[in-house]
Amino acid sequence: MLTDFGRIFAFMLIAVVFVVIAVLAAKFIRPSRPSKEKLMTYECGEDPIGSPWVKFNIRFYVVALIFLIFDVEIVLLIPWALVYKEFGFGGFLIGAIFLFLLGLGMAYEWRKGDLEWVKPKVIPPVLKKNPVTNEVEVQA
């Protein structure tokens, strides 16, 4: 007896087989004449400089972290959304309280600036006149 997920497994299997067959079939037709230049990492025709596996923006990590928290909470909400009507207003209230807490966490993240992407902040210099010497000074 094949369950629903068994059929989904058949879908995934077909997808894998399709990609493998398509790539392998092309192997018999396509040419293969590798040269040093062809096998170089593409960097707009120049010799690649340094390793690409470098440090990248920490924001990606923060976004992934916030997403993880939200996703878990959303997974908890789905069963509630399926059944809350059976419990009337009380059932809705429980979900609403949960959502309120979620919103509170979101507001905290927002206030802390975790949702902000790095942007150069423009700080215009302040000019101040010295009353004694009458000279203009730049204050940082």
Binding site: I8, L13, V19, T41, L82, L99
Partner: protein, 357 residues
């Protein structure tokens, strides 16, 4: 159901399942991808007052077939710096994630790959494969453009998944089901029974719901656009800065697989939006099959309506692509976290209150 038909024909559940899972790929996705690539080029061309492909076939309709023939003959370059096993695995993973989503999409009342009770939830979950595949492609390419594109793409897809799921939760709250087939059946009858018009239940709540349903539809459409990396959210493969993002290093058939997955994904998200808000496979004006007393005609009409609705949303995606400029990364994140998610939150609570009336 198609599955039962194949089961009776071959007497084996495994063979029936395999044949049924071949159907969406060869009957639907491949012809659709061929057509959609051609359509995209024609739409873009006509929007910019050009002609687009004209040489191969009538108005260039065989252009994509010619492109496929070209791609098969292309050399498959795996650069020395690439991480070979991961590099080869990535297109498989991306395509599997995309194709598995099709298992839970009801094309007609007679064909659904797997009539899962988890339906939409399964689709959201399995689309995580795509993120893993994209990250894998970017990392294994050992290329600065690829890695940056993959990181941006992953951040974007996971960010925009939250408003998508929130809108799905609002629909679940109204209908009380996650099964896409049941959802489509609920919206039977005429177009005023669609979820965008407040669902099949007639009453005060239906009319109260309409503005919020339209807002929900806007949110989910914007988020799904971002999830398939389409303009205005195509910063992961912004040509002017990142060459072509995470598939910069790919060539030949592997590139074609990424391309196919992208177009299949475009249809998948349109199909989900259709099933959630626009009645899925249901006809807006009733069936000729019922009128003439030909019950076998109904599934064919349903397939027609489903394809038509899905194609319409794919067309809107293309339309937006050639109309709107690209967002910056910080604008992209702001749009999701500071606008879409709070609006989706409020929307969810208000709809919850309305359903209690």
């Amino acid at each position: 159901m198609t599955y039962d038909f194949f089961y009776k024909l071959f007497g084996s559940q495994v063979i029936a399942a395999i044949i049924q899972s071949l159907l969406p790929l060869f009957v639907f996705i491949l012809p659709f991808a061929l057509f959609a690539v051609w359509l995209e080029r024609k739409v873009s061309a006509h929007m910019q007052d050009r002609l687009g492909p004209m040489r191969v076939g009538w108005h260039g309709w065989l252009q994509t077939v010619a492109d496929i023939l070209k791609l098969i003959q292309k050399e498959d370059i795996i650069a020395t710096a690439n991480d070979k096993p991961l590099f080869n695995l990535a297109p498989v993973l991306v395509f599997v994630g995309t194709y598995a989503a099709f298992a839970a999409i009801p094309f007609t009342s007679a064909f659904i790959g797997s009539n899962l009770d988890l339906g939409v939830f399964f689709i959201v979950a399995v689309s995580g494969f795509v993120v893993a595949g994209i990250l894998m492609a970017g990392w294994a390419s050992n290329n600065k453009y690829s890695l940056l594109g993959a990181m941006r793409s992953a951040a974007q897809i996971i960010s925009y998944e939250i408003p998508t799921v929130m809108v799905i939760i609002t629909i679940v709250m109204i209908t009380g089901t996650l099964n896409l087939n049941t959802l489509s059946q609920l919206q039977t009858g005429h177009f005023w029974n669609w979820m965008i018009f407040g669902g099949p239940v007639f009453g005060v709540s239906k009319f109260l719901m309409i503005p919020f349903m339209i807002i929900s539809f806007g949110i989910i459409y914007i988020s799904t656009l971002a999830e398939v990396n389409r303009t205005p959210f195509d910063i992961p493969e912004a040509e002017s800065e990142l060459v072509s993002g995470y598939h910069t290093e790919y060539s030949g058939m592997k590139f074609a697989m990424f391309f196919l997955a992208e177009y299949a994904n475009m249809f998948a998200v349109s199909a989900i939006v259709t099933a959630l808000f626009f009645g899925g496979y249901q006809s807006p004006i009733g069936y000729i099959g019922h009128l003439l007393g030909l019950p076998w005609l109904v599934p064919i009409e349903q397939l027609f309506w489903f394809t038509a609705k899905g194609l319409f949303f794919v067309f809107v995606q293309m339309w937006l692509r050639w109309t709107l400029p690209r967002l910056r990364v910080d604008q992209l994140m702001t749009a999701c976290w500071k606008y879409l998610i709070p609006i989706a939150f409020a929307d969810l609570i208000i709809i919850g209150l309305i359903t209690l009336i």
